[in-house]
Symmetry: C2
Subunit: 565 residues, 2 copies
């Protein structure tokens, strides 16, 4: 199982990666190597699929790869690789490659068109089950969503009497999804009466993080092997598979069955595997979320050519957690902190920022914002909220100036609670190329900070996040003595309400039934609706929840619908 990281659009790079992994797998004795969904194009390629030049290049990359593998002496290894085909329309396709050629193809049957997925926009659905006989074992090919829906190739596989089902994936992380996956895989294996090898990619692509978590289950649903989350690798294991039953059914339920013969027998086993994959331990929730945020941040930076990041370090919890994520992603020395004190900053703010930078080994620069702020306030005669916002925007402009001067990626530090109710300044604290915690509610931010510090203590390292940043009451510090609690409900209550309103589309009656106060429901839902225009201009950040802001939640800005009794 090649649980690998892909780069969207990088046909050459992804193809070179496949060659390298096949070589390493062959050296380790593998007979069959399975790569994730759309290996060659990266996933999701979005509207690149609509370009004929890209579709042609993907098809050419596949045939070129097959030739190269044989030329490198790996023609006897069977390889399942995902790519974009153009046969009768764009296809989300899997190829079975051996002996220098494409032996069989399979086109994805179920095309997800919900949540973050737009596959109905891009692909024509496949309407056949592809089964390849490799050394006497019948192997069925399937792709991602095929395993999540009833009917289609998994149901057909039982009738076609396959001995192994391969399922290749680009399945984005969200909290607790790994539990759902495992239960599902077991059920599908039993339905199909076949072992299932589920291979997922691992890495970040814009707002999506793929967590790997590749799995193998036996025909009776027993978990045989599980790769770790967020760790790239070649995971090897040996499976005893039943010989072909000789079934020649030409249809399986609604689907025609197309059978192929692999040209070569599987490579001779090289003896017992050095390190067969066992069952990776289930990560605690915080570790899993932290892994997703670090992976998403690292891959956005690296894949877009940034070696360093810059962010405002306010002394507060949000910027501290973002800095710690960035330090885990690309190293503390590459995390440039900027303290941006104003007349309203409290004494402890700068001290907490200094402590944070020291803990992370991050360079810290201090830029007092008073000269710039007073230039605006005097020129424009600003007061009240307009004056508060100017402070945030001077900070944003400062960070962007340093980014332009030094080439750092700017990280925005807003959390999901703020972003929901619009408690942020557009073009101020909202500036950035990436926003690591935009899908993390404030209460989870605190929880992650405590977990990360405890984890450091467990490993005998310095806890990165200053205790004071965790324990002090949150404040935007845009006016004297300001506290978040002046403007917002208690975060414990707010986050519970938002999880229902946003993640589950709960309406007024549902929220009342869940025990929330009527006035609070009205206030929070209106604040959330009114902030849509700001969210539309917010930087991307990693999805970790059931419903993240972005492609996952598409609401109009101009929208007079209000939840009410």
């Amino acid at each position: 199982m090649a649980q690998v990281d892909l780069v969207v659009g990088d046909l050459d790079g992804n193809r070179a990666m496949v060659r390298d992994r096949v070589r390493r797998a062959a050296e380790a004795g593998a007979q069959l190597v399975v790569f994730p969904e759309m290996t060659l194009t990266g996933y999701p390629p979005e509207d690149l699929v609509l370009r004929e030049s890209f579709r042609q290049a993907s098809c050419a990359a596949l045939t070129g790869l097959a030739t190269e593998l044989a030329a490198a002496g790996h023609g006897d290894v069977a390889v399942v690789v995902g790519y974009l085909d153009a046969d009768g329309g764009p296809r989300n396709a899997a190829a079975f490659v051996q002996d220098g050629r494409v032996v069989a193809r399979y086109f994805k049957h179920h095309l997800p068109n919900y949540g973050v997925f737009d596959e109905g926009r891009y692909f024509k659905a496949g309407r056949e089950l592809s089964v390849v006989n490799l050394g006497g074992v019948d192997i069925g090919l399937t792709i991602c969503e095929d395993v999540w829906q009833d009917g289609g190739p998994f149901a057909a596989a039982a009738v076609a009497e396959v001995g192994l089902l391969v399922n290749i994936n680009g399945s984005p992380y969200e909290r607790n999804k790994d539990d759902v996956r495992l239960e599902l895989l077991g059920r599908r294996a039993r339905e199909a009466r076949s072992a299932v090898v589920y291979v997922n990619q691992c890495g970040g692509q814009d707002e999506l993080v793929f967590d790997g978590d590749s799995l193998v289950v036996a025909a009776d649903g027993t978990l045989l092997a599980r790769a770790p989350q967020f760790v790239e690798g070649l995971y090897l294991l040996e499976l005893d598979l039943p010989a072909s039953t000789g079934c020649t059914a030409e249809r399986a339920g609604e689907l025609p069955v197309r059978r192929y013969q692999a040209p070569l027998p599987p490579r001779a086993p090289a003896g017992p595997l050095a390190e067969p994959l066992g069952i990776a331990e289930r990560l605690p929730d915080e570790a899993e979320v932290w892994g997703a945020l670090v992976t998403g941040t690292r891959d956005y930076a690296v894949k877009n050519g940034f070696a360093s990041v810059v962010l405002g370090m306010s002394g507060g919890i949000d910027s501290a957690v973002v800095a710690a994520i960035a330090a885990d992603a690309i190293g503390g020395a590459n995390v440039y902190g900027v303290a941006l004190p104003s007349d309203y900053s409290s004494e402890h703010s700068l001290a907490d920022a200094v402590q944070l930078a020291a803990n992370l080994g991050a360079p810290l620069q201090t830029v007092p914002i008073a000269p710039m702020v007073s230039a605006f306030v005097e020129s424009l005669k600003l007061t009240g909220l307009a004056e508060e916002n100017v402070q945030a925007r001077v900070r944003g402009t400062t960070l962007m100036g340093l980014s332009n001067q030094h080439g750092h990626l700017v990280l925005a530090t807003g959390n999901k609670s703020e972003l929901s109710v619009g408690y942020s300044t557009i073009y101020g604290d909202a500036v950035g190329g990436f926003a690591p915690i935009k899908d993390v509610g404030k209460t989870l931010v605190w929880q992650l900070a405590r977990w990360r510090n405890a984890e450091a203590a467990r490993r005998g390292e310095v806890p990165p996040i200053p205790e004071n940043s965790i324990s002090k009451p949150p404040s935007a510090e845009l006016r004297p003595g300001q506290l978040d609690s002046d403007s917002l409900p208690d975060y414990e209550v707010l986050d519970k309400l938002l999880a229902l309103y946003i993640d589950t589309d709960a309406g007024f009656d549902d929220l009342l039934a869940a025990g929330f106060d009527e006035a609070l429901v009205t206030r929070v839902s209106r604040m959330t609706d009114a902030a849509e225009w700001k969210r539309r201009q917010y930087p991307p950040g990693p999805k970790i929840s059931l419903k993240a802001f972005g492609r996952d939640r598409r609401l109009p800005i101009t929208n007079r619908w209000r939840e009410h009794g």
Copy 2:
């Protein structure tokens, strides 16, 4: 034909509008009143469809409306109205209402899931043709995309022998689409052997502008009536329709036919119509585009509660055209101009801005940016591009400060050529709630300016746009003597290349075949690809082209695909 403006989510407001228009139509003698697609919810409601509370409210609004119409004495008027149904899944639905009740329903058959449309995400497709007999005439109901695709209800209508097909629409404007529509309607009418009444909404919704252009064609495809573009109204006409053939076919091709009887005969004709609709004249291309931009800008402002706008008036062509659009949309007195001269601004810039404001009757304020810029440059030691960008960001922060202080909507003035190649400063000239010309290439901006001035001259009014803003070479004026032509190809060439690369997804070979220089293709395609992250944070603006930035074009930010030979 009720060619009306809708507000998404405003079930109460849209319903009140329907009541009012039915009353007025009844007074004018109408027997049948047809409203656009999803009249009650507004279109497109996007993810509101996923809320059960919203679906229920839409169904309740429909039955409430039927009751109200009868109570108001209009029970004898037949009304076709669009709404969101929840029968067996969310449905894009049309209801035939008469006598205080919902007589018949139809669920949209073809669900568009391309371009700006995501209907596969939301709706379950209908699989029946609904035919209502009203006073002896068989009327088939269809919705929007049904007329654009082969097969489905239009093909079925011929077999079912209907006498009239009603097609209700939320069909967004794009250039030259009206010609395509007319040709299509004629062809479908001939196929269906039935007259077709095509009713489209009129108004702006975020990035979409609906242009009306409601049409009636006879069974032989002859155009009988055409409502003007961008003008709300009740358009009346008399049609002689064939009596029912008595066809009782229960299936028409692939579709079951469901037949209904209207409970009441049509109202007695009140005599000849006072003002029957004729055939509205086809607008020249510039007038049509201008109409779309004005409608989109006005509706975004008004529907989101803004009575005034603010924008930077640089003396250049882009801000002049945006100001003129805004003045046509909400009146020049509500367009607040801000001149933001720097040390690099040329003498004519301020003079041209003053002239523009005077032409429009717009208030103009001058805020020299030097004090703010030097505060940043000195604090941060900025040079080169970083210093140029600070100027743009000081302007952006100034406009946002004035917006916060006075409640104006900020308009961004960037054009599509700049936005394509990333020739703009994020959080600088890119700030705003709405961007009226984001889908207008620079050459079209000039063309619109000349057209608008000529139009003013024709009407005996002051041409709004200073001649000097049109004729001078474009410059961002961020360093001494800077011209756009220092950094960009000639706009005539650039816009032609971008139209192919963006609107038609042309690849490297296509662009070479179209006669563009290899180095230019490489340079422009790379600049365009690299600017995706900036576009993602750009404000919304009206779509006028085949492919606008936004929902219409979904490319990854992290993307290593490059067009090359």
